[in-house]
């Protein structure tokens, strides 16, 4: 029996508790409790009036029974009676019972309120505190109505005892939170703020919670608290460890109060008053310094208390996000914690660094810890710490480290805990997309994702890879090849079959030239998976098959056979059956033209917020905000500033349906089927409804570069290049003279000649109006890398261009080494007072420096073989966008600058060319082969050269010409 309960024994209670503890089974316990409940009930109902002590004892027993998890439905009245007792212990048990067991809407509240009113006016501090505790604990509206006016008075009255003030502060906070309308601001508010200066630390600790809440709701009214909080903090931080006596905890002065002060400051921006700010920065520096000092005690409590303050200070530094010096110091400090032996510290440091990573000042500093964080991901024993490490990697990811981080996350996925796999998959998918420089890497990453964690790859993820492949023609061939290879695995995930079916259905033709992946091989591969798949996947495969019939007429018979089989055409699933019947019919009656129209390649998807990102946001809730904001900044890079998508679109893509034919982007409502005949439309609508708006509206933003600025911007800075400038550039790949640009005011003509690695270009600026252009000024600049690749010199032109007149400008160009971008030409002038600002790309392309080389067939093939390394070759397969007239083709190839070699290719339809690109640094030999397929209206273009960048660039340039 604990000695402390001597004199206030309640022996009956002690016996009862011992009995319960001795119960061997749950049944026995319940039996004992029921017996006791019956006993108490009879006592309460009995005729004999119970004395205070007995009432207290029975109420106490009820409380105990309640805490064991049993319902209590009587005894409330007896507890209320105890409130009016004059004995502290009886009153206290009464209040305790009411706080724990009476919820705010009880009918007893009025009785309770009366008792509280008496206690509040009793001027007995212990009674007052009990009453205040009770108000705070119950906090109902009736209580707020009864006491909201009274409590502020008690709180700021000069003669109120400290302990009562503390209780009053927190009681008021509760009422304010529950019924803010009843707590009226008044003369007391300014006096509350001054409680921060109270001599008594306990009062400050209690008051600061109230003030923090009030200031976050009414920042202006309480902003004087900033300077008071700073000075209080400064006094604590600079005090010796013994100054604050009982408020010092293991040699740390007032750790909890310090944390709260720092938290209060996070309700406000950095102080405007220089002196206050200086004092605060000094405090923060002191806190950071203290972390480096040797500890005053070896006890973990000491370091925990110290670090609690440190983390809160770092939160404040991050909140201000304006002191680069402090941010970097904070980052270094957290870096130290990453290696600390205390798991708690590592966890908090990872978490804190996550927010630090989104600050521009500290992003780089955070990145230096990448190896440690990756190590944490691999070795931490606690899943919640690993989760934090993954979050941090996600937050610190940028273009420079994306490949490493994505690779690490992928390898972690193989062993990751099931609970976090789905989120990891989303993150990998987002990073891969956001930072993809070459999209083949992106495709590889997503396919790996499906391979490693196929079950956790949600629809959004595989929809997204398809959207991207469809929108980017440079990756389509690669994607087709990769999925084809992935499908070779004996067991592959159903999601892989879905992606494979879709991509081969669209782009299988790009790899059909290789006999190892001929149309029939592709089809057989897909069909070998068919029977193991669920209905939605089979439906998708059927659509892929009908697309095959269009792409490869030679597969028609085989596929029709499959469609005709009983297992398709009589399938018990209505959807499959309908598809089989309709596709079969479509393929047998429609002419090739109709088929080609109906089954046309998917038009690009409109760019919009990635549905994956939307999903991650939904999953993470508001916690992910910092990452989202960053995403907002970064998005422009990837999608050419594609719009963020209306909320409706996000909502729609969130509401993903289980059907595989559900629209990729939640576009369904806005997507009229385009380009399909009505009869086919109804049947294809589910597979192809993803098509959405027509290609023209969708493609605009896809270029990564031409999003925003209107052609003329009233700014002194050079305008961004015109949207059409890439197109204009392409016009001049195979010719040297012509009109570069024209609008209502100005025409720019161009004439150029090239020899070896040198070129000269004449630009003719024609004023089409009858009014003079003033301040006419043109500049040519080489952005980025180009500076070191091209040497461009211009002479300035006269600043005045008369109406109808033409001025000429000469530009000398020297090619130092091979290059990709084009120089920018900016023209600025004033016309009728308005500033015109136009930027164009100057049509200087690498092929201009070609020197044609004639050679015999044997030579050609020998060199072709020498250049057989994969990176030396660039290949493109593309649709003809102009007629395939032989003479026009020849003229274009000659215009490219190479020699057109006759009688070299065994197939007379094909063209081969050779040339040497002359740069100052080196000469790059270049061989070219163009294979037209008139029937399919397709070309295959292959470039080989001794330099990979040259092959790629020439291939890209030339592919736009046909």
């Amino acid at each position: 029996m604990p000695a402390v309960s001597k004199g206030d024994g309640m022996r009956g209670l002690a016996v009862f508790i011992s009995d319960i503890r001795n119960c061997k089974s749950k049944e026995a316990e319940i039996k004992r409790i029921n017996k006791e409940l019956a006993n108490i009930r009879s006592k309460f109902k009995g005729d004999k009036a119970l004395d205070g002590y007995s009432k207290k004892k029975y109420v106490c027993k009820l409380l105990f029974i309640f805490l064991l998890g049993h319902d209590i439905d009587f005894g409330h009245m007896e507890a209320v009676n105890l409130l009016s007792s004059n004995k502290y212990t009886e009153k206290q048990i009464g209040y305790l019972f009411i706080s724990v067991l009476v919820n705010s809407n009880s009918e007893l509240i009025r009785l309770i309120n009366n008792a509280i009113k008496n206690d509040l006016s009793s001027r007995n501090p212990t009674f007052m505190c009990l009453a205040l505790h009770c108000i705070a604990n119950v906090g109902s509206r009736e209580m707020a109505e009864a006491f909201a006016g009274e409590i502020p008075r008690i709180l700021v009255a000069g003669d109120t005892m400290d302990s009562v003030k503390q209780s009053a502060a927190l009681c008021l906070l509760r009422l304010y939170k529950a019924s803010p309308d009843l707590v009226l601001m008044g003369e007391w508010t300014s006096r509350v703020v001054h409680l921060l200066n109270d001599q008594h630390m306990g009062v400050v600790t209690a008051a600061i919670s109230l003030i923090t809440c009030l200031s976050s709701k009414n920042p202006d009214e309480f902003k004087t608290c900033v300077s008071l909080a700073v000075s209080r903090l400064s006094r604590i931080v600079s005090s010796a460890s013994t100054d604050l006596q009982d408020y010092t905890y293991y040699f740390v002065p007032a750790p909890w109060l310090s944390c709260k002060l720092l938290r209060l400051l996070q309700c406000y921006p950095p102080p405007e008053d220089g002196a206050v700010k200086g004092r605060l920065v000094e405090c923060l520096e002191t806190i950071l310094n203290k972390a480096q000092e040797p500890p005053k005690s070896k006890k973990v409590q000491h370091s925990n208390a110290k670090n609690a303050i440190l983390f809160e200070a770092i939160s404040l530094i991050i909140h201000y996000d304006s002191e680069p010096n402090l941010l970097v110091r904070a980052c270094n400090q957290l870096g130290q914690f990453l290696q600390h032996r205390e798991t708690n510290l590592r966890y908090l440091a990872l978490e804190s660094m996550c927010t630090l990573a989104s600050s521009e000042f500290s992003h780089e500093a955070v990145k230096t810890h990448i190896e440690t964080v990756i190590n944490a991901l691999k070795t931490e024993r606690d899943v919640s710490v690993r989760q934090r490490a993954a979050d941090l990697l996600y937050a610190m990811c940028d273009r420079s480290n994306a490949k490493q981080i994505v690779a690490e996350m992928l390898s972690y996925l193989e062993t990751a805990d099931y609970s976090i796999r789905e989120e990891m998959v989303l993150k990998v998918a987002i990073l891969a997309e956001k930072y993809a420089v070459d999209y083949s890497w992106y495709v590889d990453t997503i396919l790996n994702l499906i391979r490693i964690a196929g079950d956790y790859v949600s629809e959004e993820v595989w929809y997204r890879v398809i959207q991207i492949v469809i929108n980017r023609d440079d990756v389509q061939g690669y994607a087709a090849k990769t999925v084809f290879e992935a499908l070779q695995a004996p067991a592959c995930h159903e999601n892989m079959v879905k992606v494979g079916g879709y991509i081969l259905g669209e782009f299988g033709n790009l790899i059909a030239g290789d006999p190892r992946s001929s149309p029939l091989v592709q089809f057989n591969l897909l069909h070998s998976k068919f029977h193991l798949c669920s209905v939605p996947t089979r439906a998708l495969l059927l659509s892929a098959y009908i697309k095959f019939i269009n792409l490869f007429p030679e597969t028609k018979a085989t596929i029709q056979e499959v469609l005709r089989s009983d297992s398709q055409i009589r399938n018990s699933d209505v959807e499959l059956q309908q598809r089989a019947v309709e596709y079969l019919k479509l393929s047998s009656i429609a002419s090739t033209d109709v088929l080609a129209t109906v089954l046309e390649e998917m038009p690009p998807f409109p760019e919009r917020e990635s549905s994956i990102l939307a999903k991650l946001k939904k999953k993470k809730g508001p916690g992910a905000v910092s990452v989202e904001l960053e995403d907002g900044k970064e998005r422009g890079e990837l999608n050419g500033g594609g719009d963020r998508g209306g909320d409706a679109a996000i909502a729609a893509s969130n509401a993903s349906t289980p059907s595989p034919s559900a629209d990729l982007l939640g576009l369904r409502s806005t997507a009229p089927v385009s380009g399909t005949t009505p009869s086919a439309g109804s049947l294809l609508v589910d597979v192809f409804s993803e098509a959405g708006p027509s290609a023209t509206s969708a493609g605009v933003n896809d270029d990564g570069f031409l999003s925003s600025a209107p052609p003329t911007v009233a700014s002194e800075d050079p305008a961004p290049p015109l949207p059409e400038s890439d197109e204009l550039l392409n016009k001049f790949v195979c010719k040297n003279n012509g009109v570069l640009f024209e609008n209502q005011l100005l025409q720019i003509g161009i004439k150029s000649e090239y020899r070896q690695n040198l070129g000269r270009m004449y630009l003719f600026y024609g004023n089409k109006t009858s009014v003079q252009f003033v301040s006419f000024n043109t500049t040519v600049s080489c952005p980025g890398e180009l500076q070191s690749q091209l040497n461009v010199q211009t002479k300035t032109v006269e600043p005045l261009v008369e109406g109808g007149a033409q001025v000429q400008q000469v530009i000398n160009i020297e090619c130092l080494t091979d290059f990709i971008d084009a120089p920018l030409l900016n023209i600025k002038f004033r016309y009728g007072g308005a500033l015109q600002n136009i930027s164009l790309k100057l049509p200087v392309t690498i092929n201009k420096f070609f020197q044609p080389t004639e050679m015999a067939a044997a030579d050609f093939f020998q060199r072709w073989k020498q250049l057989s390394q994969p990176q030396q070759e660039a290949q493109k397969i593309f649709k003809a966008s102009h007629g395939m007239d032989t003479e026009v083709l020849k003229a274009k190839l000659l215009g490219l600058g190479t020699a057109l070699l006759e009688n070299v290719d065994p197939n007379p339809e094909n063209y081969v060319c050779a040339g040497v690109i002359q740069t100052k640094a080196q000469q790059v030999g270049c061989l070219l082969r163009l294979e037209p397929n008139a029937q399919a209206q397709m070309y295959r273009l292959t470039l080989r050269s001794s330099k990979d960048t040259v092959s790629q660039r020439v291939c890209d340039l030339l592919a736009e010409q046909f």
Binding site: S5, D8, L67, T126, S163, T205, C259, I309, T343
Partner: protein, 155 residues
Amino acid sequence: MIKFLLMVNKQGQTRLSKYYEQVDIEKRPSLETDVVKRCLSRKKEECSFVEYKDFRLVYRQYAALFIVVGISDTENELSIYELVHNFVEVLDKYFSRVKSKLFFLSSQSELDIMFNLDKVHIIIDEIIQNGHIVETNKNRILAPLLALDKMAEAH
């Protein structure tokens, strides 16, 4: 703010619970079981902060007793972690006055709490009110209880 404080034994039985945010009485047992399960299943080297629904748990183990605190994200985890210890030291100071050994290292502690629920509640109410820290000074936390004991003895 602090949402709740639980004291649980190793068998997962709640010995004391204190809620600062309204949770329906019927829902408390299931919430407690869930919360306790999460903390009991964790190993020593795992960190003491657990994400749970939309808030966090901070827990600390003393011999056979677990103390679990549920907090919102505006609260500083380490400071709560030490607040728990401060609370335990107060209990120690109070209950070990008449005993030679430290209260919380004895298996007696659970019993002491059960026999003195009212006192433990008084102590908690002196430290936390309404979900916020109100006092951290051990002497001041204990003052009302000691005054009470004196009254009882004089009785």
